[in-house]
């Protein structure tokens, strides 16, 4: 299953989708479509999340206990499943955010080495 999913997620850096979902839900409960839209809008249309990756990721996060879901009526008056961060999810978000900034920092140093003579 992993192999198949890997290829679909090529647009996104591996492992970052979970973090983006958790971050998006920090604003409050949202349904699947809304999460996808929010990521797109927030990234100025640079990141586009495939539903084929989004929904398995959501369910995986629920299974791990970082999200919970509840049924509610959407603004379109349509019954939809709303995902909500759990306290464990919030802790996880902090952890991932931390790792992410370390990673960006490290990659940045490799890609743009600081000139040796810089004071």
């Amino acid at each position: 299953m992993a192999k198949h999913a890997d290829q679909e997620r090529l647009e996104l850096l591996q492992g970052t989708l979970d973090m983006l979902i958790l971050r998006t839900l920090l604003w409050g409960p949202q349904h699947g479509h809304g999460i996808g839209q929010a990521i797109r809008v927030q990234s100025d249309d640079l990141l586009k999340v495939e539903t084929g990756s989004l929904y398995p990721a959501l369910h995986r996060l629920v299974k791990r206990g970082w999200l919970k879901w509840e049924w509610d009526l959407s603004e379109a008056n349509q019954r939809a499943k709303y995902y909500r961060l759990t306290p464990a999810g919030k802790v996880q978000l902090l952890r991932e955010q931390d790792r992410w900034s370390q990673l960006v920092d490290a990659i940045g140093r490799v890609m743009n080495p600081a000139p040796a003579n810089k004071e």
């Binding site: 299953m1 198949h4 999913a5 349904h31 699947g32 479509h33 809304g34 495939e50 539903t51 084929g52 929904y55 398995p56 369910h59 995986r60 629920v62 299974k63 959407s74 379109a76 349509q78 019954r79 939809a80 499943k81």
Partner: protein, 895 residues
């Protein structure tokens, strides 16, 4: 938390609805909005599947992969039907034999008895080391002494066996085997009735009313389970007794009796001999351990009590041997005769399993070498070691599963056969039924075989070994595959030396184990043939023997003697009858039923350090020796008048030579010593009137032993009838029965047979042993022959090119033939040598745990070796012939 399928569908529908609505709000027309939303969403089914997979357990994926592998294995095996069938049948034989025998082992040796608290139930035996008396049993005074002196055993059950003429229950009068028990017997044994009641304390002693219970088997088989039998009044010989109950099914020990009666039912048990004589031993003793007492405490206490008995009554024990008492759990005691034979059988079955596995390993190995190309392609396409191993494992699971299935099916009838066979050694085997044990053993063996077989073939080594985990590398090292193997994708097969060596090792293993089985089986067959063809010196075909037992145990006297001589007289006048005699003992069939005792001879003093000779006693009437064909060497036969007045005896040659080396036995006097002799008046001098040639009525291969013959007339006892006929001895049976019933209407006449028939009957356990082990050895031989032939055929087909080159440079075809043939013979030779060494070592180890291990003599071993060599040569012949017929041009072109 796990969502239902409808829930998933609803979530996806919701997503689409929101998406469409948003697009419409942005101004798209509904139709195109719907299309765009669907397009954006992508493959709905795929998404739903990947969501569902998130919630699945990881075992589910593994199972799915295994299922795929199994289907693949099934397909690829269907393309190799011959191999698959050979493997499945071979495994089925191995697994079936093991499952069947293990079921019986479990049923006989390991299963608890039905008796209440059976682990507190012990069997007590008195024996003398150094004499033949390994079971002396007890006399009533001894039992009473023991009862009053032990505390570790709370109650004692007494059991002795007598024969009764049972009248009034079955259609005909019949001699039944009966147990006579004391009042506490059933309580000690912890048994319950299925009908009526059992015997209890009120039935004990000489004042009680005679009562009997039926054993379950007798009630169910002879009386068809008739519930109306309770309360019936029947005759047991001279006594009238009431039938009070039916015993539950239980293991009869020490003898399988048909009825069990109280003491008062048997006149013999009330007699002074039984009650007061310390050496009149016929009682078996069972005990129930007292609460908190261990079996070791009981053992220690009884040993002390026994020592006291020997001290107080030295005259009741032989001075030549030490008397000892053993206390064993009843369950172990019952199992003990069968233990050796069952363990040996289990070992034989285990050997068959090993042979089967090595053979199957060989076939699989050969197949995997042919498949190396395929495996290499799969490895090149990215299949990891794990995946390849899983493919092989799936294949061997399919093979072993099928083998186990067939094996379990095979085991069902086998359990019955093995149980009937084992029943000769332990009565418990009769209750063995096919149960889940067979399944478990079959499944266990199949799994063991499957895992073993999956690791036999070598995998193509991968250049990128990074994915190989360390244990796989270890396995590869274990399998002896070093470095990148020289497999190619070309059609030709190349065998690495490692593969070839492994093939040969497996073939040698098979030969070695087959040799062990063959040697064992040929030993049994040799023994059987020796016994069956031994010259007994008796008239084996023309003498018909009958059991015409006295109508109750312990009845002796002139009237009995008169009945037998009257019967002899009348039968002798029948047409076709040459001579008639009566006696106490049918050769071999009645072995061990007559006593041995010491004999003193007038004017004879034993040499220094020796005792008076022991002699076996037989009771015979006039003409006995003439009827059986035993030559009279000196003096005369008994006459009809012997037995009244002067006491006379006839001795055999062994006795005469031992005591009268000068040949002056006639007219000398001898008498029996010991308390039993006194009881029967045998301690008076008897004049020797004749000397007869030795006949051995206990062994088929004659081993002369001193014997003294008493007259029927004086002893008032016979029980066996011997009729020599001129014509067909079988035609006589109804006539004899009729004539005897004319004299005594209630008289049973049973077990008519010629002496040759008796020999066949007595030898039937030996015959069965030989048959069972020969079957095992035959199976092993068959598998081993297939194995050797397979290895050589494979080796030849892989070396076609080599043979082509050899032929091309001038080798004669017969040289190639001899070469391949010698390879087969070398495998056989190494196997036989290994088998002989291993078998010898095994026997040495087994001898530590099992008594009476016999090593086969030289002849059976040579025979087994010859058979194996012959088989190996025949097995090599076909591949060898193929090697010598290789077409040179084709062989050279083939690669």
């Amino acid at each position: 938390m796990r969502p239902h399928d409808e829930e998933l569908d609803e979530e996806i529908r919701g997503h689409l609805a929101i998406s469409i609505k948003e697009r419409i709000e942005r101004g798209e027309d509904p139709a195109s909005a719907r299309l765009a939303a669907l397009k954006e969403f992508g493959n709905v089914t795929l998404t739903r599947d990947s969501i569902r997979r998130v919630w699945r357990h990881r075992w589910f994926d593994a199972a799915e992969a295994l299922g795929r592998d199994l289907r693949f294995a099934l397909r690829s095996l269907l393309r190799a039907k011959g191999l698959a069938a050979t493997v499945v049948v071979t495994l089925a034989l191995g697994i079936g034999a093991n499952a069947a025998i293990f079921s019986v082992v479990r049923g006989v040796l390991l299963r608890p008895l039905v008796n209440r608290d059976e682990d507190r139930l012990v069997y007590i035996r008195q024996s003398q080391r150094g004499t033949a008396a390994d079971n002396m049993t007890f006399s009533v005074p001894e039992v009473n002494d023991i009862r009053s002196r032990v505390t570790a055993i709370s109650a004692l059950g007494e059991f002795s066996t007598v024969d009764f003429n049972l009248v009034g229950l079955l259609d005909e009068p019949r001699i039944v085997k009966a147990g006579v028990v004391n009042g506490s017997f059933f309580d000690v044994m912890g048994l319950r009735p299925v009908l009526g009641r059992l015997l209890n304390a009120h039935d004990d002693g000489p004042k009680a009313a005679p009562a009997l219970v039926l054993t379950y088997r007798f009630w169910a088989e002879s009386l068809k389970g008739d519930p109306q039998v309770i309360g019936k009044i029947v005759r047991l010989g001279p006594t009238t007794a009431t039938l009070v109950g039916v015993l539950e099914p239980s293991v009869p020990y020490p003898t399988d009796t048909e009825i069990i009666a109280n003491v008062v039912s048997s006149p013999h048990h009330l007699g002074a001999t039984m009650v007061t004589n310390r050496t009149h031993r016929m009682t078996e003793l069972f005990g129930r351990l007292a609460p908190n007492a261990s079996i070791d405490e009981a053992r220690a206490e009884l040993t002390a009590v026994e020592a006291g008995l020997v001290r107080q009554h030295p005259e009741a024990f032989s001075k030549r041997a030490t008397t000892q008492v053993t206390v064993t759990r009843l369950r172990d005691q019952i199992a003990s005769p069968a233990r050796t034979i069952l363990w040996v059988l289990l070992a034989a079955a285990g050997v068959i399993f090993i042979i089967a596995c090595s053979n199957v390993a060989n076939l699989i190995l050969a197949r995997s070498v042919r498949r190396e190309g395929e495996l290499a392609v799969r490895a090149a396409l990215g299949a990891g070691h794990g995946a390849l191993r899983r493919t092989l494992l799936a294949e061997s699971i399919v093979l072993c599963g099928a083998g186990a299935l067939l094996g379990v099916v095979l085991a069902r009838p086998l359990v019955g056969a093995v149980a009937r066979y084992a029943a000769r050694y332990s009565i418990r085997a009769l209750d063995v039924t096919v149960d889940s044990t067979v399944l478990w053993v079959g499944a266990g063996l199949a799994i063991a075989a499957a895992v073993l077989l999956a690791y036999v073939p070598r995998l193509p080594s991968q250049q990128a070994s990074s994915s190989a985990t360390s244990w796989l590398r270890w396995t590869r090292r274990r399998l002896g595959a070093g470095g990148p193997a020289g497999f190619g994708l070309a059609s030709g097969i190349r065998i690495t030396p490692g593969t070839n060596r492994r093939l040969r090792i497996f073939a040698t293993t098979q030969i070695a184990f087959s040799f062990v089985l063959l040697a064992g089986a040929s030993m049994l067959v040799a023994t059987l043939v020796r016994l069956q063809t031994a010259n007994t010196g008796l008239n084996m075909r023309q003498v018909r023997v009958f059991d015409v037992p006295p109508t109750a145990t312990g009845v002796f006297g002139p009237k009995v003697a008169e009945f037998y001589s009257e019967a002899s007289r009348r039968l002798a006048t029948l047409p076709g009858v040459e001579a008639v005699a009566v006696g106490s003992t049918v050769p071999w069939r009645d072995a061990g039923t007559m006593p041995r005792a010491q004999v003193a001879v007038e004017g004879y003093t034993p040499a220094n350090g020796e005792e008076n000779p022991y002699a076996a006693m037989r009771i015979v009437g006039p003409r006995f020796f003439a009827v059986l064909g035993v030559p009279l060497l000196q003096g005369r036969d008994f006459t009809d008048d012997d037995g009244v007045g002067e006491a006379v005896v006839i001795v055999n040659q062994s006795f005469a030579q031992r005591v009268f080396p000068n040949g002056d036995a006639i007219n000398r006097k001898l008498w029996w010593t010991g308390s039993l002799a006194k009881l029967f008046g045998l301690d008076k001098p008897h004049r020797i009137v004749g000397v007869v040639a030795d006949m051995d009525d206990e062994h088929f291969v004659r081993t002369p032993a001193p014997m003294v013959y008493q007259t029927v007339r004086r002893m008032g006892f016979a029980g066996r009838l011997f009729v020599r006929t001129a014509g067909d001895p079988y035609a006589l049976v109804p006539v004899v029965t009729r004539v005897i019933r004319e004299i005594a209407p209630d008289q049973p006449v049973e077990r008519a047979a010629t002496l040759e028939d008796v020999r066949m009957q007595v030898l039937s356990p030996e015959r069965l042993n030989a048959f069972v082990f020969s079957t095992f050895a035959g199976i092993a031989l068959l598998i081993a022959v297939v194995g050797v032939a397979g290895v050589l055929a494979f080796s030849v087909s892989a070396r076609t090119r080599e043979f082509g080159v050899r032929l091309a440079v001038g080798s004669a075809p017969r040289h190639l033939l001899a070469r391949v043939l010698s390879e087969g013979v070398v495998i056989a030779a190494i196997g036989i040598a290994a088998g002989a060494a291993g078998g010898f070592a095994l026997a040495r180890i087994a001898a530590r745990f099992i008594e009476n291990i016999q090593l086969p003599g030289a002849l059976p071993v040579m025979g087994a070796a010859a058979v194996l060599f012959g088989a190996a040569a025949v097995a090599s012949l076909m591949p060898a012939a193929r090697a010598s017929r290789v077409d040179v041009l084709q062989a050279l072109r083939s690669e």
